[in-house]
Amino acid sequence: MSVSNLLSNWSEFRHTHPVDDVPHDPYKWAMAVDLDACTGCNACSIACYAENNLPVVGKEKYSHGHVMHWIRVERYWDEDGREFPDQGAQFLPMMCQQCEAAPCETVCPVGATNHTPDGLNSQIYNRCIGSRYCSANCPFKVRYFNWYDYPTTDDVWPAEMTQQLNPDVSVRGKGVMEKCTFCVQRLTVVKGNAKSEGRIVREGEVQTACQQACPTGAISFGNIVDPESRVHKQWQAQQVELAKDVQAKDTGEVASDLRGYRILEELRAYPSVMYLERVRELAPAKSEHHSA
């Protein structure tokens, strides 16, 4: 890896980090979120709590900003002069963007967060010492820190509810960082199954919990290397490329009925989540207020 190569294409370099294999062969997990389909119902967030053993911190801790939702549904309000009940809201589900050149990975002093060969940004809880540098450097602020020892906090998982915990996911103790994993426990299972049958994971064989719960099918997830996958087709249709920091939609060269973009692309973190712009009109203003 020469210096000039490193400078000329940082994202390509990060593709192979830290192992020296062929980039993303046979897997690169990616996502597409259609904001036009998102109704802001929060089902994805609830599903994530159930699947990934997220602690429910309660009202008091929530008000201190200690909430642990790996996927959060953000609200952005229309600014057209209307007051609250009439004011239109737009929703954006935000989770770890599994960046290819992840800002969090380079700064961790102990190497607790790394890139996996299948393109995930992994977090090793046992290695984490809680310096929180990863979160400080995360542009999306999607990393969540265990401010308290939630497994031993009474109101987080009452005794009778511990049976409900997902046995495939470890329960995190205090002082470690955690975040969306793209449901890595599910990926591991299907990858193992596929390997024992001598094939790669087929489209539709695995879903993330949020995708599974979404009533409008706004979230699609899969292996972007596989040309048959829905994610691959969506990214291709939107002309969004993983290793580019400006997409066709924003170059102005193409007639723009394209909707695909990635958040804060100019920071060159090369996220693995593509969002599809909303095409619906803003909710119409109530005409009686405006009639002369």
Binding site: K61, H64, G65, H66, V67, R72, E74, Y76, M94, P103, T106, V107, C108, P109, V110, G111, R127, C128, I129, G130, S131, R132, Y133, S135, A136, N137, P139, F140, K141, R143, Y144, F145, N146, W147, Y148, D149, K174, G175, V176, M177, I263, L264, L267
Partner: protein, 453 residues
């Protein structure tokens, strides 16, 4: 005004300095008691935080870093002027540093120790802090050498061990004087062991000079690199308000600034409590004050440069952070920083205040308040106005645990420093003698007392 009176007898120097080891003014004990009480508060808060979790500090997402990191930078910065006085001015043959460099060097060591504690206090899993150290282990796992935090850990340990060495080596001839003048007891044993059999032969002096000079030369680039690396924690990150090219020199200037202000504070306290009026003279104080004034103006200049480059740099996110600092929730603190750091030092430009002890004590404390605020204003506002809009409307105020630990750290530093001054000679006896000798020589040769070295 003379830096030092040239007819002080050498035996009197020994006597006066040795007296400081046994017979300080009552104020000394008051300071010590207050410092211990402050440490107790800090330790209590840390024990609580360790037990319950980092949540009690009221840090949150997105406010991941708070007063701990800010105060860490503050203490690292404090350590720099010790090296400035003892190493840089040593190379420049500035004689006036001689009576005050010992305590400045001790200040370096102890503020580094205090800074190190903040790295620990900040960690979510303090009990695993050694994962960040590059130690050989059977799992073959190393820390991440890309991370500026790791550079930090290495730079601080290197700087700390070097400055302890420098402090110790420079003290050997004085320790021998202590040894020779002490009655039997634990002190005698301590000094005998630490003096390493110093007898003051020509050969010993020659080796001593070479060693001292070598460490001094080694220490200067270290001091500059340490704070540059601390600056890299921010400059190497991607966040608006932190990703600033000029941060390393800016941090070094800030470090020298707060360090010099601290030297003035400690100068005044030591001079009184240990009755060092004859050695820590007003003339020396005046030189320190002028140095501080110069550095304060450098700091102000670098601040203006940073604001200007952000303002005209067309990076909207960074610009927003700057606007937020000046007008948002942090505005009172930010303007206070500007006031304490850039306006207050203007007093030091006036001759009649350069030797006015009450004014200087107040000003030096204000300068350090400003410098502490500066560090806080570097760390915190970026979290409340980062790139991502979701972070924008969050407000967060440090809990009593954070304030308590910051408060305790000042007690911890004072405790270490005051104990040092009581156990070891805080004025360098042999160098003061040198200084007196240089002055008498100058007087003989020139017929006037203007000389110096």
């Amino acid at each position: 005004m003379k830096d030092i009176n040239e007819d002080i007898a050498w035996a009197k120097i020994n006597k006066d300095v040795l007296k400081s080891l046994e017979n300080p003014r009552p104020l000394y004990w008051i300071i010590l008691a207050v410092a211990i009480a402050m440490v107790a508060v800090g330790v209590g808060c840390e024990a609580y935080q360790y037990r319950v979790g980092m949540g009690v500090s009221n840090l949150n997402n997105p406010h991941m870093w708070g007063l701990y990191i800010a105060t860490f930078i503050f203490w690292i910065g404090m350590s720099h002027s010790g090296t400035l006085l003892s190493a840089i001015l040593h190379l420049m043959h500035a004689d006036w540093r001689k009576p005050i460099y010992r305590f400045a060097e001790a200040m370096t060591t102890f503020s580094l120790m205090t800074a190190g504690l903040f790295v620990m206090v900040h960690l979510g899993r303090l009990w695993q802090f050694y994962y960040a150290l590059p130690y050989p282990n059977e799992r073959g796992i190393w820390p991440n050498f890309q991370s500026p935090l790791l550079w930090d850990a290495m730079a601080i340990f290197t700087y700390l061990s070097s400055s302890i060495l420098f402090l110790y080596v420079g003290m050997i001839p004085d320790l021998a004087i202590c040894r020779d003048n002490m009655k039997d007891g634990w002190r005698k044993k301590l000094y005998t062991a630490l003096a390493l059999g110093w007898e003051g032969t020509d050969r010993q002096w020659r080796n001593f000079r070479v060693t001292y000079l070598t460490i001094a030369c080694f220490l200067i680039p270290l001091a500059v690199s340490v704070h540059s690396i601390v600056a890299s924690d921010f400059a190497m990150s991607q966040q608006p308000g932190w990703h600033v090219t000029s941060f390393p020199p800016y941090f070094v200037a800030g470090a020298l600034y707060s360090g010099c202000a601290a030297i003035i504070t400690l100068f005044i306290i030591l001079r009184y409590t240990f009755k060092f009026e004859e050695y820590m003279t007003l003339s020396i104080l005046k030189k320190t004050v002028r140095l501080t004034f110069a550095i304060s103006m450098v700091w102000t200049y670098l601040n203006l440069i940073e604001f200007a480059s952000v303002w005209y740099g067309h990076d909207q996110a960074s610009k927003d952070v700057l606007i937020q600092k000046a007008t948002g929730v942090f505005a009172p603190f930010w303007w206070m920083m500007i006031f304490c750091g850039s306006i207050v030092p203007l007093i030091l430009a006036f001759k009649r205040f350069q030797t006015n002890i009450p004014v200087l004590l107040a000003v030096s404390l204000l300068l350090n308040l400003g410098m502490w605020l500066e560090r806080w204003m570097i760390v915190a506002p970026t979290f409340s106005h980062g790139y991502y809009p979701w972070t924008w409307d969050n407000s967060q105020w440090p809990s009593f645990v954070q304030w308590g630990i910051v408060f305790g750290s000042f007690g911890w530093f004072t405790l270490l420093f005051m104990l040092f001054c009581k156990i070891f000679p805080s004025v360098s006896m042999y160098e003061v003698k040198e200084m007196v000798y240089h002055r008498t020589l100058a007087k003989k040769n020139l017929g006037t007392a203007k000389g110096g070295h």
